[in-house]
Symmetry: C2
Subunit: 236 residues, 2 copies
Protein backbone atom coordinates (compact mmCIF):
# COMPACT_ATOMS: atom_id res chain seq x y z
CA UNK A 1 0.00 0.00 0.00
CA UNK A 2 1.49 3.28 -1.10
CA UNK A 3 2.35 6.04 1.36
CA UNK A 4 2.23 9.62 0.13
CA UNK A 5 3.60 12.49 2.21
CA UNK A 6 2.16 15.89 1.30
CA UNK A 7 4.83 18.24 2.57
CA UNK A 8 6.86 21.39 2.12
CA UNK A 9 10.35 21.13 3.60
CA UNK A 10 10.04 24.75 4.67
CA UNK A 11 7.44 23.50 7.20
CA UNK A 12 9.01 22.17 10.41
CA UNK A 13 6.44 19.37 11.05
CA UNK A 14 6.81 18.31 7.40
CA UNK A 15 10.53 17.85 7.99
CA UNK A 16 9.92 15.82 11.16
CA UNK A 17 7.80 13.36 9.19
CA UNK A 18 10.25 13.12 6.30
CA UNK A 19 13.16 12.43 8.67
CA UNK A 20 11.10 9.90 10.64
CA UNK A 21 10.27 7.91 7.49
CA UNK A 22 13.82 7.98 6.17
CA UNK A 23 15.38 7.06 9.52
CA UNK A 24 13.00 4.10 9.81
CA UNK A 25 13.23 2.82 6.25
CA UNK A 26 9.59 3.61 5.51
CA UNK A 27 9.13 4.00 1.77
CA UNK A 28 7.07 6.94 0.58
CA UNK A 29 6.38 9.31 -2.26
CA UNK A 30 7.09 12.96 -1.40
CA UNK A 31 4.40 15.21 -2.87
CA UNK A 32 5.52 18.81 -2.59
CA UNK A 33 2.77 21.24 -1.60
CA UNK A 34 4.53 24.53 -2.26
CA UNK A 35 3.37 26.96 0.42
CA UNK A 36 4.99 29.92 -1.38
CA UNK A 37 2.82 29.10 -4.41
CA UNK A 38 -0.24 28.67 -2.16
CA UNK A 39 -0.68 25.08 -3.32
CA UNK A 40 -2.13 24.22 0.12
CA UNK A 41 -5.20 26.22 -0.92
CA UNK A 42 -5.82 24.18 -4.09
CA UNK A 43 -9.05 22.16 -4.40
CA UNK A 44 -6.95 19.02 -5.04
CA UNK A 45 -5.13 19.38 -1.74
CA UNK A 46 -8.37 20.15 0.12
CA UNK A 47 -9.37 16.57 -0.79
CA UNK A 48 -6.37 15.37 1.22
CA UNK A 49 -6.57 17.90 4.05
CA UNK A 50 -9.66 20.09 4.30
CA UNK A 51 -7.78 22.22 6.86
CA UNK A 52 -5.39 23.23 4.05
CA UNK A 53 -2.21 22.66 6.00
CA UNK A 54 0.91 20.56 5.55
CA UNK A 55 1.90 17.95 6.43
CA UNK A 56 -0.78 15.44 5.53
CA UNK A 57 -0.52 11.83 4.41
CA UNK A 58 -2.42 9.30 2.36
CA UNK A 59 -1.72 5.64 3.09
CA UNK A 60 -3.72 3.83 0.48
CA UNK A 61 -7.18 5.34 0.93
CA UNK A 62 -6.51 6.44 4.52
CA UNK A 63 -5.93 10.17 4.87
CA UNK A 64 -4.55 11.90 7.95
CA UNK A 65 -3.35 15.34 8.99
CA UNK A 66 -1.78 16.89 12.11
CA UNK A 67 1.88 15.99 12.40
CA UNK A 68 1.81 14.36 15.84
CA UNK A 69 -1.10 12.15 14.82
CA UNK A 70 0.86 11.24 11.68
CA UNK A 71 4.06 10.39 13.58
CA UNK A 72 2.12 8.17 15.99
CA UNK A 73 0.29 6.50 13.10
CA UNK A 74 3.51 5.81 11.19
CA UNK A 75 5.22 4.44 14.31
CA UNK A 76 2.21 2.18 14.97
CA UNK A 77 1.24 1.05 11.47
CA UNK A 78 4.68 0.25 10.02
CA UNK A 79 6.52 -2.79 11.36
CA UNK A 80 10.18 -2.35 12.15
CA UNK A 81 10.00 1.06 13.83
CA UNK A 82 12.19 0.74 16.94
CA UNK A 83 10.29 0.98 20.24
CA UNK A 84 12.18 4.07 21.44
CA UNK A 85 10.40 6.25 18.87
CA UNK A 86 6.97 5.58 20.40
CA UNK A 87 7.21 3.05 23.23
CA UNK A 88 4.54 0.38 23.69
CA UNK A 89 4.73 0.82 27.48
CA UNK A 90 1.63 2.78 28.57
CA UNK A 91 3.47 5.09 30.97
CA UNK A 92 6.40 5.83 28.67
CA UNK A 93 3.90 6.54 25.92
CA UNK A 94 1.88 8.81 28.22
CA UNK A 95 4.96 10.92 28.93
CA UNK A 96 5.57 11.33 25.20
CA UNK A 97 1.95 12.43 24.71
CA UNK A 98 2.46 14.93 27.55
CA UNK A 99 5.47 16.49 25.78
CA UNK A 100 3.65 16.58 22.44
CA UNK A 101 0.55 18.21 23.95
CA UNK A 102 2.63 20.72 25.90
CA UNK A 103 4.45 21.59 22.67
CA UNK A 104 1.33 22.99 20.95
CA UNK A 105 0.73 25.90 23.32
CA UNK A 106 4.36 26.56 24.20
CA UNK A 107 7.37 25.93 21.93
CA UNK A 108 5.25 25.62 18.77
CA UNK A 109 3.15 28.69 19.43
CA UNK A 110 6.15 30.80 20.44
CA UNK A 111 8.36 29.60 17.60
CA UNK A 112 5.73 30.11 14.90
CA UNK A 113 4.78 33.50 16.36
CA UNK A 114 8.40 34.61 16.21
CA UNK A 115 9.74 33.11 12.99
CA UNK A 116 6.64 33.45 10.84
CA UNK A 117 6.12 37.09 11.69
CA UNK A 118 9.81 38.04 11.49
CA UNK A 119 10.87 36.01 8.43
CA UNK A 120 8.78 33.23 6.85
CA UNK A 121 5.79 35.48 6.11
CA UNK A 122 7.73 37.46 3.51
CA UNK A 123 8.63 34.22 1.69
CA UNK A 124 4.96 33.34 1.20
CA UNK A 125 3.80 36.83 0.35
CA UNK A 126 2.34 37.78 3.73
CA UNK A 127 3.27 40.90 5.72
CA UNK A 128 5.87 40.83 8.49
CA UNK A 129 4.59 41.78 11.96
CA UNK A 130 7.42 42.67 14.32
CA UNK A 131 5.13 43.24 17.30
CA UNK A 132 3.68 39.72 16.96
CA UNK A 133 7.24 38.42 16.44
CA UNK A 134 8.38 39.98 19.73
CA UNK A 135 5.39 38.45 21.51
CA UNK A 136 6.24 35.06 19.99
CA UNK A 137 9.89 35.36 21.00
CA UNK A 138 8.95 35.74 24.67
CA UNK A 139 7.03 32.45 24.65
CA UNK A 140 9.72 30.80 22.51
CA UNK A 141 12.48 31.72 24.96
CA UNK A 142 10.40 30.70 27.98
CA UNK A 143 9.69 27.37 26.27
CA UNK A 144 13.36 26.76 25.49
CA UNK A 145 14.19 27.46 29.15
CA UNK A 146 11.46 25.01 30.25
CA UNK A 147 12.82 22.30 27.94
CA UNK A 148 16.27 22.76 29.47
CA UNK A 149 15.10 22.83 33.07
CA UNK A 150 12.44 20.13 32.90
CA UNK A 151 12.02 18.04 29.76
CA UNK A 152 15.77 17.42 29.27
CA UNK A 153 16.42 15.61 32.52
CA UNK A 154 19.85 15.18 34.11
CA UNK A 155 22.61 14.48 31.61
CA UNK A 156 20.65 12.27 29.25
CA UNK A 157 20.71 13.29 25.59
CA UNK A 158 16.98 13.15 24.84
CA UNK A 159 13.67 14.37 26.29
CA UNK A 160 12.27 12.58 29.34
CA UNK A 161 15.70 11.26 30.34
CA UNK A 162 15.87 8.92 27.35
CA UNK A 163 19.02 7.53 25.79
CA UNK A 164 17.42 7.32 22.34
CA UNK A 165 15.14 9.79 20.55
CA UNK A 166 11.35 9.59 20.45
CA UNK A 167 8.91 11.24 18.06
CA UNK A 168 8.76 14.09 20.60
CA UNK A 169 12.47 14.85 20.15
CA UNK A 170 12.03 14.89 16.40
CA UNK A 171 8.97 17.15 16.48
CA UNK A 172 10.43 19.66 18.92
CA UNK A 173 13.94 19.76 17.45
CA UNK A 174 12.56 20.37 13.95
CA UNK A 175 10.61 23.26 15.44
CA UNK A 176 13.76 24.79 16.95
CA UNK A 177 15.53 24.27 13.60
CA UNK A 178 13.03 26.65 12.02
CA UNK A 179 15.20 29.41 13.52
CA UNK A 180 17.63 28.63 10.68
CA UNK A 181 15.33 30.82 8.56
CA UNK A 182 16.25 33.83 10.72
CA UNK A 183 19.36 35.96 10.28
CA UNK A 184 22.38 34.18 11.82
CA UNK A 185 22.75 36.92 14.46
CA UNK A 186 19.10 36.56 15.51
CA UNK A 187 19.36 32.79 15.82
CA UNK A 188 22.59 33.20 17.81
CA UNK A 189 20.93 35.75 20.11
CA UNK A 190 17.97 33.47 20.85
CA UNK A 191 19.70 30.07 21.07
CA UNK A 192 23.15 30.81 22.51
CA UNK A 193 21.89 31.11 26.12
CA UNK A 194 20.57 27.54 25.80
CA UNK A 195 23.61 25.25 25.67
CA UNK A 196 21.62 22.08 26.40
CA UNK A 197 19.23 22.88 23.55
CA UNK A 198 22.21 23.17 21.20
CA UNK A 199 23.58 19.82 22.38
CA UNK A 200 20.10 18.23 22.03
CA UNK A 201 19.88 19.42 18.42
CA UNK A 202 23.32 17.85 17.74
CA UNK A 203 22.31 14.59 19.43
CA UNK A 204 19.10 14.38 17.40
CA UNK A 205 20.98 15.19 14.21
CA UNK A 206 23.53 12.43 14.94
CA UNK A 207 20.81 9.91 15.82
CA UNK A 208 19.08 10.49 12.46
CA UNK A 209 22.15 11.05 10.24
CA UNK A 210 22.40 11.58 7.35
CA UNK A 211 18.72 12.37 6.91
CA UNK A 212 18.50 15.27 9.37
CA UNK A 213 21.00 17.36 7.42
CA UNK A 214 19.62 16.22 4.07
CA UNK A 215 16.08 17.36 4.90
CA UNK A 216 17.27 20.57 6.56
CA UNK A 217 19.49 21.59 3.62
CA UNK A 218 16.60 23.80 2.48
CA UNK A 219 17.02 26.11 5.48
CA UNK A 220 20.13 28.10 4.47
CA UNK A 221 18.53 28.59 1.05
CA UNK A 222 15.34 29.82 2.70
CA UNK A 223 17.34 32.18 4.90
CA UNK A 224 19.19 33.72 1.92
CA UNK A 225 15.92 34.04 0.01
CA UNK A 226 14.26 35.79 2.95
CA UNK A 227 17.25 38.15 3.33
CA UNK A 228 16.98 39.07 -0.36
CA UNK A 229 13.21 39.62 -0.12
CA UNK A 230 13.74 41.88 2.90
CA UNK A 231 16.31 43.94 0.96
CA UNK A 232 13.86 44.28 -1.95
CA UNK A 233 11.00 45.20 0.40
CA UNK A 234 13.12 47.93 2.04
CA UNK A 235 13.85 49.63 -1.31
CA UNK A 236 11.70 52.65 -1.99
CA UNK B 1 -3.04 1.83 43.43
CA UNK B 2 -4.63 5.14 44.23
CA UNK B 3 -5.56 7.65 41.54
CA UNK B 4 -5.55 11.33 42.48
CA UNK B 5 -6.99 13.97 40.16
CA UNK B 6 -5.66 17.47 40.76
CA UNK B 7 -8.39 19.64 39.30
CA UNK B 8 -10.51 22.75 39.47
CA UNK B 9 -14.01 22.26 38.04
CA UNK B 10 -13.78 25.79 36.64
CA UNK B 11 -11.15 24.39 34.24
CA UNK B 12 -12.65 22.76 31.15
CA UNK B 13 -10.02 20.00 30.75
CA UNK B 14 -10.36 19.23 34.47
CA UNK B 15 -14.07 18.62 33.93
CA UNK B 16 -13.40 16.34 30.95
CA UNK B 17 -11.21 14.11 33.11
CA UNK B 18 -13.66 14.05 36.02
CA UNK B 19 -16.54 13.09 33.73
CA UNK B 20 -14.42 10.45 31.98
CA UNK B 21 -13.52 8.77 35.28
CA UNK B 22 -17.08 8.86 36.60
CA UNK B 23 -18.61 7.60 33.34
CA UNK B 24 -16.13 4.71 33.30
CA UNK B 25 -16.34 3.72 36.96
CA UNK B 26 -12.71 4.66 37.63
CA UNK B 27 -12.28 5.40 41.33
CA UNK B 28 -10.32 8.49 42.25
CA UNK B 29 -9.70 11.11 44.88
CA UNK B 30 -10.49 14.64 43.71
CA UNK B 31 -7.88 17.10 44.96
CA UNK B 32 -9.11 20.64 44.38
CA UNK B 33 -6.42 23.04 43.19
CA UNK B 34 -8.27 26.32 43.57
CA UNK B 35 -7.18 28.55 40.68
CA UNK B 36 -8.88 31.60 42.22
CA UNK B 37 -6.68 31.10 45.29
CA UNK B 38 -3.61 30.57 43.07
CA UNK B 39 -3.07 27.11 44.55
CA UNK B 40 -1.60 26.00 41.21
CA UNK B 41 1.41 28.16 42.06
CA UNK B 42 2.08 26.42 45.39
CA UNK B 43 5.37 24.52 45.89
CA UNK B 44 3.37 21.40 46.79
CA UNK B 45 1.52 21.42 43.47
CA UNK B 46 4.76 22.12 41.56
CA UNK B 47 5.86 18.67 42.77
CA UNK B 48 2.89 17.21 40.87
CA UNK B 49 3.02 19.49 37.83
CA UNK B 50 6.05 21.74 37.40
CA UNK B 51 4.12 23.57 34.65
CA UNK B 52 1.70 24.76 37.38
CA UNK B 53 -1.48 23.94 35.48
CA UNK B 54 -4.53 21.80 36.11
CA UNK B 55 -5.46 19.08 35.46
CA UNK B 56 -2.71 16.76 36.58
CA UNK B 57 -2.86 13.24 38.00
CA UNK B 58 -0.89 10.96 40.28
CA UNK B 59 -1.50 7.24 39.86
CA UNK B 60 0.58 5.70 42.61
CA UNK B 61 4.00 7.26 42.03
CA UNK B 62 3.29 8.04 38.35
CA UNK B 63 2.59 11.71 37.68
CA UNK B 64 1.19 13.13 34.47
CA UNK B 65 -0.11 16.43 33.12
CA UNK B 66 -1.73 17.66 29.87
CA UNK B 67 -5.37 16.63 29.68
CA UNK B 68 -5.24 14.72 26.39
CA UNK B 69 -2.27 12.69 27.59
CA UNK B 70 -4.20 12.00 30.81
CA UNK B 71 -7.38 10.90 28.98
CA UNK B 72 -5.37 8.53 26.77
CA UNK B 73 -3.50 7.16 29.79
CA UNK B 74 -6.70 6.55 31.77
CA UNK B 75 -8.36 4.87 28.78
CA UNK B 76 -5.30 2.64 28.32
CA UNK B 77 -4.29 1.85 31.91
CA UNK B 78 -7.70 1.08 33.42
CA UNK B 79 -9.45 -2.12 32.35
CA UNK B 80 -13.11 -1.86 31.51
CA UNK B 81 -13.05 1.39 29.56
CA UNK B 82 -15.23 0.74 26.48
CA UNK B 83 -13.33 0.77 23.19
CA UNK B 84 -15.31 3.69 21.72
CA UNK B 85 -13.58 6.13 24.09
CA UNK B 86 -10.14 5.43 22.62
CA UNK B 87 -10.30 2.66 20.01
CA UNK B 88 -7.56 0.04 19.78
CA UNK B 89 -7.75 0.15 15.96
CA UNK B 90 -4.72 2.09 14.72
CA UNK B 91 -6.63 4.13 12.13
CA UNK B 92 -9.58 4.98 14.36
CA UNK B 93 -7.09 5.99 17.04
CA UNK B 94 -5.14 8.12 14.54
CA UNK B 95 -8.28 10.08 13.67
CA UNK B 96 -8.90 10.79 17.35
CA UNK B 97 -5.31 12.03 17.74
CA UNK B 98 -5.90 14.24 14.70
CA UNK B 99 -8.95 15.89 16.32
CA UNK B 100 -7.14 16.30 19.64
CA UNK B 101 -4.08 17.89 18.00
CA UNK B 102 -6.24 20.17 15.85
CA UNK B 103 -8.08 21.27 18.99
CA UNK B 104 -5.00 22.89 20.58
CA UNK B 105 -4.49 25.59 17.95
CA UNK B 106 -8.13 26.07 17.03
CA UNK B 107 -11.12 25.56 19.35
CA UNK B 108 -9.01 25.58 22.51
CA UNK B 109 -6.98 28.64 21.59
CA UNK B 110 -10.03 30.57 20.42
CA UNK B 111 -12.21 29.57 23.34
CA UNK B 112 -9.61 30.38 25.99
CA UNK B 113 -8.76 33.64 24.25
CA UNK B 114 -12.40 34.66 24.31
CA UNK B 115 -13.70 33.42 27.65
CA UNK B 116 -10.61 34.03 29.75
CA UNK B 117 -10.19 37.60 28.59
CA UNK B 118 -13.91 38.46 28.71
CA UNK B 119 -14.92 36.67 31.93
CA UNK B 120 -12.74 34.10 33.75
CA UNK B 121 -9.82 36.49 34.28
CA UNK B 122 -11.81 38.62 36.70
CA UNK B 123 -12.62 35.53 38.80
CA UNK B 124 -8.94 34.80 39.36
CA UNK B 125 -7.87 38.39 39.91
CA UNK B 126 -6.43 39.07 36.44
CA UNK B 127 -7.44 41.99 34.20
CA UNK B 128 -10.05 41.60 31.44
CA UNK B 129 -8.79 42.29 27.91
CA UNK B 130 -11.63 42.89 25.47
CA UNK B 131 -9.35 43.25 22.45
CA UNK B 132 -7.81 39.82 23.11
CA UNK B 133 -11.34 38.48 23.74
CA UNK B 134 -12.52 39.71 20.32
CA UNK B 135 -9.49 38.11 18.67
CA UNK B 136 -10.25 34.85 20.49
CA UNK B 137 -13.90 34.96 19.47
CA UNK B 138 -12.97 35.05 15.78
CA UNK B 139 -10.96 31.84 16.08
CA UNK B 140 -13.61 30.30 18.35
CA UNK B 141 -16.40 30.92 15.84
CA UNK B 142 -14.28 29.70 12.92
CA UNK B 143 -13.47 26.55 14.91
CA UNK B 144 -17.14 25.91 15.74
CA UNK B 145 -17.97 26.25 12.04
CA UNK B 146 -15.18 23.80 11.15
CA UNK B 147 -16.45 21.27 13.69
CA UNK B 148 -19.92 21.50 12.14
CA UNK B 149 -18.75 21.30 8.54
CA UNK B 150 -16.02 18.71 8.94
CA UNK B 151 -15.55 16.88 12.23
CA UNK B 152 -19.28 16.21 12.77
CA UNK B 153 -19.90 14.12 9.69
CA UNK B 154 -23.30 13.45 8.18
CA UNK B 155 -26.03 12.88 10.74
CA UNK B 156 -23.99 10.97 13.26
CA UNK B 157 -24.10 12.28 16.81
CA UNK B 158 -20.36 12.32 17.57
CA UNK B 159 -17.10 13.47 16.01
CA UNK B 160 -15.63 11.47 13.11
CA UNK B 161 -19.01 9.99 12.25
CA UNK B 162 -19.13 7.91 15.43
CA UNK B 163 -22.25 6.57 17.12
CA UNK B 164 -20.63 6.70 20.56
CA UNK B 165 -18.43 9.38 22.13
CA UNK B 166 -14.63 9.30 22.23
CA UNK B 167 -12.24 11.21 24.46
CA UNK B 168 -12.17 13.83 21.70
CA UNK B 169 -15.90 14.54 22.08
CA UNK B 170 -15.47 14.91 25.82
CA UNK B 171 -12.47 17.24 25.53
CA UNK B 172 -14.01 19.49 22.89
CA UNK B 173 -17.52 19.62 24.35
CA UNK B 174 -16.17 20.56 27.78
CA UNK B 175 -14.28 23.36 26.04
CA UNK B 176 -17.49 24.66 24.42
CA UNK B 177 -19.24 24.40 27.80
CA UNK B 178 -16.81 26.97 29.17
CA UNK B 179 -19.04 29.52 27.44
CA UNK B 180 -21.45 28.93 30.34
CA UNK B 181 -19.23 31.35 32.25
CA UNK B 182 -20.21 34.13 29.85
CA UNK B 183 -23.38 36.23 30.10
CA UNK B 184 -26.35 34.24 28.72
CA UNK B 185 -26.79 36.71 25.87
CA UNK B 186 -23.15 36.39 24.86
CA UNK B 187 -23.31 32.60 24.86
CA UNK B 188 -26.52 32.72 22.83
CA UNK B 189 -24.93 35.11 20.33
CA UNK B 190 -21.92 32.85 19.79
CA UNK B 191 -23.57 29.41 19.88
CA UNK B 192 -27.02 29.92 18.39
CA UNK B 193 -25.78 29.95 14.76
CA UNK B 194 -24.36 26.47 15.37
CA UNK B 195 -27.32 24.09 15.70
CA UNK B 196 -25.25 20.95 15.25
CA UNK B 197 -22.89 22.05 18.02
CA UNK B 198 -25.88 22.46 20.33
CA UNK B 199 -27.13 18.96 19.45
CA UNK B 200 -23.63 17.53 19.92
CA UNK B 201 -23.46 19.03 23.42
CA UNK B 202 -26.84 17.42 24.24
CA UNK B 203 -25.74 14.06 22.83
CA UNK B 204 -22.52 14.12 24.86
CA UNK B 205 -24.44 15.15 27.96
CA UNK B 206 -26.90 12.26 27.49
CA UNK B 207 -24.11 9.76 26.83
CA UNK B 208 -22.40 10.67 30.11
CA UNK B 209 -25.48 11.32 32.29
CA UNK B 210 -25.75 12.09 35.13
CA UNK B 211 -22.08 13.03 35.48
CA UNK B 212 -21.94 15.70 32.79
CA UNK B 213 -24.51 17.89 34.56
CA UNK B 214 -23.10 17.09 37.99
CA UNK B 215 -19.60 18.25 37.07
CA UNK B 216 -20.88 21.26 35.14
CA UNK B 217 -23.12 22.46 37.96
CA UNK B 218 -20.31 24.85 38.92
CA UNK B 219 -20.77 26.87 35.73
CA UNK B 220 -23.94 28.86 36.57
CA UNK B 221 -22.35 29.70 39.94
CA UNK B 222 -19.20 30.86 38.18
CA UNK B 223 -21.29 32.98 35.79
CA UNK B 224 -23.15 34.72 38.63
CA UNK B 225 -19.91 35.27 40.52
CA UNK B 226 -18.29 36.82 37.43
CA UNK B 227 -21.34 39.06 36.85
CA UNK B 228 -21.10 40.29 40.44
CA UNK B 229 -17.35 40.92 40.16
CA UNK B 230 -17.93 42.90 36.96
CA UNK B 231 -20.55 45.03 38.71
CA UNK B 232 -18.14 45.70 41.58
CA UNK B 233 -15.30 46.51 39.18
CA UNK B 234 -17.50 49.02 37.32
CA UNK B 235 -18.26 50.98 40.49
CA UNK B 236 -16.18 54.12 40.88
Amino acid sequence: MELKLYVDRLSQPSRAILIFCKANGIEFEEVKIDLAKHQHHSPEFAEVNPMKQVPAIAHGDFKLFESHAILIYLASAFPGVADHWYPADVRKRAKIHSVLDWHHSNLRRGSVGYIFNSAIAIAIGAPLNLEAAAEGEKLLSASLAKIESYWLQEDRPFLLGNEKPSIADLSLVCEVMQLEAADESERERILSPHKRILKWIEDTKNATAPYFDEIHSIMPLARENIKELKVQASKP
